[in-house]
Structure formats: C-alpha cells, structure tokens
Amino acid sequence: MNHLTLYRAGRVTGWISILTGLALVGFVLSIAVSASYIQYEGTMPISARSLGSSNLVISAEVGLSNQGVYSLEGFHMSLHLLNPQGELVATGSTATSSLPARSTVEIPLSIHTDLSSPIVSLLVTHNSTLKAHAWINATYATLVPVHLTLTEDYPWGAPFYGFSTSWGTPSNLSNGTVSLPIHVSFANYFPIPDYGTLGMSVFSTNGTRCGGGSLSLPVIATGSSFSGGTHLHLAQGCDYAGGTLTLLYTDPLVTLEIPPQVIP
C-alpha cells in the first residue's frame, strides 16, 4: 500500500461527505418549497343517494392541486360534521389516494348520514352552519408523513328549506272520494337540484290512512324556490282535520322523508 493511500481515501470520502450533506440539505429544502405548491381547491357535493331506508350518502369531490415536484401518497381523509349544538350529524371518508407531482385531482369523498335521527331530519327543511372536523393523513415525497386536522364552518343548505303547506276547500267527487287541494312551497339550498316526486299521505288523528297523492317536481336548481299544488284523494268520512300529512320525496337515487305536517 502506498504511504498516501489512506490520506487520499480520507480526502475523497471527506469530499463525498460534504457533497452528500449539501445535496441532502438541498433535497430537504426542495421538499419544503415543493410542498408549498399543494393547494386545497374545495369540496363540492356532486350527488346524493339513499342507502337502505334511512341512510343518505352524499358523494363529494375534494379538489387538490399539487404543482410541486414530489408526489403526495397515501392521502386519506376522515370527516365529522356536527350541528351547532355539537351533535354528530354525518361522517365521511375518502378512499386512500395519491396525488402525483404537477397534477390536479378530485378525490371522491362519501358522507353518510342517518335520516331517521331527529337532529338530521331537521336539516331537510332548515339551513344551518355545521362544524366540519377533518383528519388527513398523507406522505409527501415518500419520506415525510403529514397529519392535518382541519376545523371549519360548513354552511348547510336544506333541500326543502322552509317547507310549508296550505290547504284548499275539499270537494266531494262522483267516485265517492274527497278531493283536497294542497299547495306546497319551499326553496332548495342544497348543492344538488331537486327533481323527483313528492308522495303525500294523509292520516287521521287516530292513525288511519285517509288517502294521499303525489306531486311531480320540476328541476329545482340550487337557490331556486318552488311553489305548486295538487289534489289529494281521501276516503269520504275519514276525519283528517288535526291529522298528519307525511311526505316522501323520491328521485331515481334518493328517498327522503320530509318532516310531517299537521293538517289544520
């Protein structure tokens, strides 16, 4: 061995150490800079569908833009929606997704809610400000685990806001039934249009079903109001005064109970 071999090896490894250190610090800084190019572009509900008799699933998309040079992997979000009283209204989660570098993706988010719960059914006809708590886990640039918690007010728009009914004068029909005119009005503040049918049933005070009818709704876009009427056909002699009107909204994807109305 040459008497300077160790010295030369030591010098070379010394330079490798310095250059590696500089490269690694540069890499870490590039991760920090690149991460600043990730942007949350909002959550947009796109559809709703019923699951079983009382569960509603709202499908939404979480828009994320990553204009950095490293990918975001293993993105997963869990969500809780609470009413102003702090009661749980809905839960949601995304599938585990990846966000490649220099890309924009919409990550599907499913929000589940139980419509049989009174605190949830109130939201069918009342706007509110819900509190959204989201927990996000992801890994950036393969090496950096990131955990995000987000608390945000989420304005809830009711699909049948201010739902109200007014009643006309009943008339006896030749087929032995009673025709009872009904007029309904409401506004749709939900981000998805109403476009289905309102099924209505009239029950007497002792719970006997007197009859009913249906009302086809036109497409009622978000922010639009509806006012329209139909005639309900009731059995003659059935005492519906002081009874209850139950309402069931159905469209190809959703079956939704509107809180019952008392018949004057």
Binding site: G10, I16, S17, I18, T20, L24, P145, L148
Partner: protein, 162 residues
C-alpha cells in the same frame, strides 16, 4: 550557549491561517445553526409554528457542531486532525439522532372560523441527513490511520513547507 531553534516561518503562517479559517467557519456555522434557531424562538409562535424540540436545543447542538468544525480546521496541520474529524462527525450524528426523534413540526393557521393544524413528522429526513456525517466519520478514521501509520506524510503533502 545555543540559540533556541526558531519556529519555521511557514509553520507559524499555516497555524495562523488554520486558526483564522477555523474562527471564520465557527462564526458562519454559528450564524446558521445558533443565531437563526434563537431568532426562531421569538418568531415561530406568532407564525403558528411549534416544534417537537426546543429551538435552544437546536442552538446548543449548532454551537457544538460549529465548535467541532472549527477545531477540525484548526487541527488540520497537526496529528489531531483525524480524531477531531471523528469527534465533529460524531457530534453531528448525535445531534441528528436526538433532533430526529423529536422532529415533529406543528403549524396552525386560523382564518375566521377555519382552523388548520398541520403536523409534519420530519424524523425520516433527519435520518437521511445522517448519511453525510457517517461518511465524514469514515473520512476521519482514514485520516487518523494515515497519521498514525505514516506520521508526517499527510502534512508533507498538505503543507509542503513544513
């Protein structure tokens, strides 16, 4: 009566140069690894930043690393160069291991009703940075072996006037 053997002029110049370089490096590294973290302790909370480790701990390690880096430069014209390099690399390894085990950064932004808290675990990055001082350890060991087995050879190459 014999006059004392004068120290060769070149040796004094080399030592002074190494000392100057060492002090300069100490100041530069201290600026980045000590002054910035201390300044950070004043500004980080108001910016919503919280670290899993104390920034004074970073400043302490920064001071230690700056000290050892300066010692390596000052010791370059001596046989203590290899051991100093090993000690400096070990200080970096210990600093990165300790900080890496505590490297959680929490960032909170409040904008109206929206509160976002980001918690970032930088432990893996600190472990990645370990690669450099580990290679530095090898370099220091090689320099130590060089000076031990072939005393003066390295100095003859690096400081030809000696």
């Amino acid at each position: 009566m014999t006059a004392p053997k004068p120290v060769p002029e070149t040796e004094g110049v080399e030592r002074a140069r190494s000392l100057r370089a060492g002090l300069l490096i100490f100041l530069l590294i201290s600026l980045f690894l000590v002054a910035f973290p201390i300044a950070g302790t004043f500004f980080a909370p108001s910016e919503g930043l919280a670290f899993g480790f104390s920034l004074f701990l970073v400043a302490t390690f920064g001071g230690l690393i700056a000290f050892f880096t300066a010692v390596v430069w000052i010791a370059k014209p001596t046989r203590a160069y290899g051991p100093a390099k090993i000690a400096g690399s070990l200080a970096k390894v210990v600093a990165l291991l300790v900080l890496g085990s505590l490297a959680t950064v929490t960032y909170t932004v409040t904008s109206g009703p929206r509160v976002v808290t980001a918690s970032i675990d930088g432990g893996t990055l600190f472990l990645l940075l370990l690669i450099a001082p580990v290679i530095g350890l090898v370099s220091g060991a090689l320099m130590y072996l060089q000076d031990r087995h072939y005393p003066g050879r390295r100095l003859a190459v690096e400081f030809p006037g000696k």
